[in-house]
């Protein structure tokens, strides 16, 4: 059980905070362990005075102590200002200074340290007051497939509510990072702002596939269109186009539409759109069945000729 903190400090129970502080200072000056290396009892007295002061200098805890809610040991806390690793550590210097290494603080010629270290502090001050570039901020932006094909300008809402206008050039791919100069964190002391780094995530498309800057798409055609050929209307990312199918176009045949892929950008030319024909026979049709049943090819061919795996 620790002693009554009022008794330790030698003050009355109604002592003012100033009187308590003054009493503590007097005791600290007398008993500080680093100033009394040969007297182990000084350390105990200093510890007791610090603990008593710690309790009584906190109005809330002093009141709780006065009401009997906590005892004199109701704390084992470091005095404010001396916290951190090690916390309250009376006599810490003394223990170090009495070792041979304590000679670090022997007598030294005057003025030598200023020349040695002044420039380091000077450099730190300069670093603090000199212009500092702002930090780069990273964001992610989901990009629609067609925006990556045609290019677009989209708004990115930042966590602070600010909206950033992002120009997406045609041809971007997932994982690509756009750098918006000066849109990152603000600079310090007149330094330039950092950049906004925007990582793009390009979504997939229902019908279209990217192949570099070319696009690929299956084009369903009717039996009649594939046999007779002729104009069909094809929707593309750049609007609908009339495409002339050659007569007798087999399923799987590829038709290339030049410049209808990913839009050109700068020096880069536009990609192409490749259509792969897929014959759609459609719902059963009695007349068609009747016709095909009675139909004899002019030049019978085996479409599976050459489809052999060998031995």
């Amino acid at each position: 059980m620790a002693e009554d903190p009022y008794k330790v400090l030698g003050v009355a129970r109604d002592a003012t905070p100033e009187a308590i502080k003054s009493a503590y200072r007097k005791l600290a000056r007398k008993h500080h362990p680093d100033l009394n290396p040969g007297k182990p009892e000084a350390e105990e007295k200093f510890k007791a005075a610090s603990a008593a002061h710690d309790l009584l200098s906190d109005p809330e805890r002093r009141a709780r102590y006065d009401r009997g809610e906590i005892d004199a040991e109701g704390q084992e806390k470091a005095p404010p200002g001396y916290g951190g690793p090690g916390g309250f550590n009376p006599g810490g210097y003394r223990r170090q200074a009495e070792e041979p290494f304590g000679a670090r603080y022997g007598q030294a010629p005057e003025g030598m340290f200023e020349d040695l270290f002044a420039d380091i502090f000077e450099a730190r001050r300069r670093a603090e007051t000199g212009p500092r570039r702002g930090t780069d901020e990273s964001y992610r932006l989901n990009v629609a497939f067609l925006d990556a094909v045609r290019g677009a300008t989209r708004q990115l809402t930042l966590p602070d509510g600010k909206a950033l206008s992002v120009k997406i050039p045609p041809g971007v791919v997932s994982g690509q990072v756009l750098r918006l100069r000066g849109q990152g964190g603000p600079g310090g002391n007149g330094g330039p702002a950092g950049d906004a780094l925007i990582e793009l995530d390009v979504a997939a498309h229902e019908f279209l596939r990217r192949d570099g800057n070319d696009l690929r798409m299956d084009l369903p055609v009717t039996l009649k269109e594939t046999v007779l050929g002729g104009p069909v209307v094809v929707p593309t990312p750049h609007g609908s186009l009339r495409v002339n199918l050659p007569a007798g176009s087999d399923s799987g045949r590829t038709i290339r539409l030049r410049g209808k892929g990913v839009a050109g950008h700068g020096q880069r030319a536009a990609g192409d759109l490749f259509l792969t024909l897929r014959v759609a026979v459609g719902t059963p049709d009695a007349a068609l069945e009747e016709f095909v049943r009675g139909w004899e090819p002019e030049h019978p061919e085996d479409p599976r000729a050459g489809l052999e795996f060998g031995e």
Binding site: Y24, R25, A28, R29, H32, D34, L35, P37, G38, P79, P80, G81, Y82, G83, G84, P85, G86, N89, G92, Y93, R94, R95, Q96, A97, E98, E99, P100, F101, G102, A103, R104, Y105, G106, Q107, A108, E110, M112, F113, E114, L116, F117, A118, I120, F121, A123, R124
Partner: protein, 89 residues
């Protein structure tokens, strides 16, 4: 290894300006490694002592060299006595 930033972070009442003054006056020692200052544990305890002298015992900055110089002489003497076996190790 204790750097300047670590040392400043250890003591909430320690300002970098204080430390600069004390280092330039030789009250606190440091090693120089490139553009960095490196401190030993004894230097951190020395800073704690100076802070306690200043904030608790109200030893002002002018009186500090006198107090520290007397302390350094006292500890030099005690190290010497210990070397001679006159003090318990």
């Amino acid at each position: 290894m204790i750097t300047l930033d670590i040392l400043c972070a250890r003591f909430s009442s320690l300002q970098e300006g204080d430390l600069e003054r004390w280092i330039c006056a030789g009250h606190v020692r440091a090693e120089r490694r490139g553009a960095e200052l490196i401190f030993e544990e004894i230097d951190a305890e020395r800073v704690r002592l100076i802070l306690e002298l200043r904030d608790v015992m109200q030893v002002n900055e002018e009186a500090l060299p006198v107090v520290l110089s007397l302390l350094d002489q006292l500890y030099a003497l005690r190290r010497r006595l210990r070397d001679l076996g006159a003090l318990p190790g």
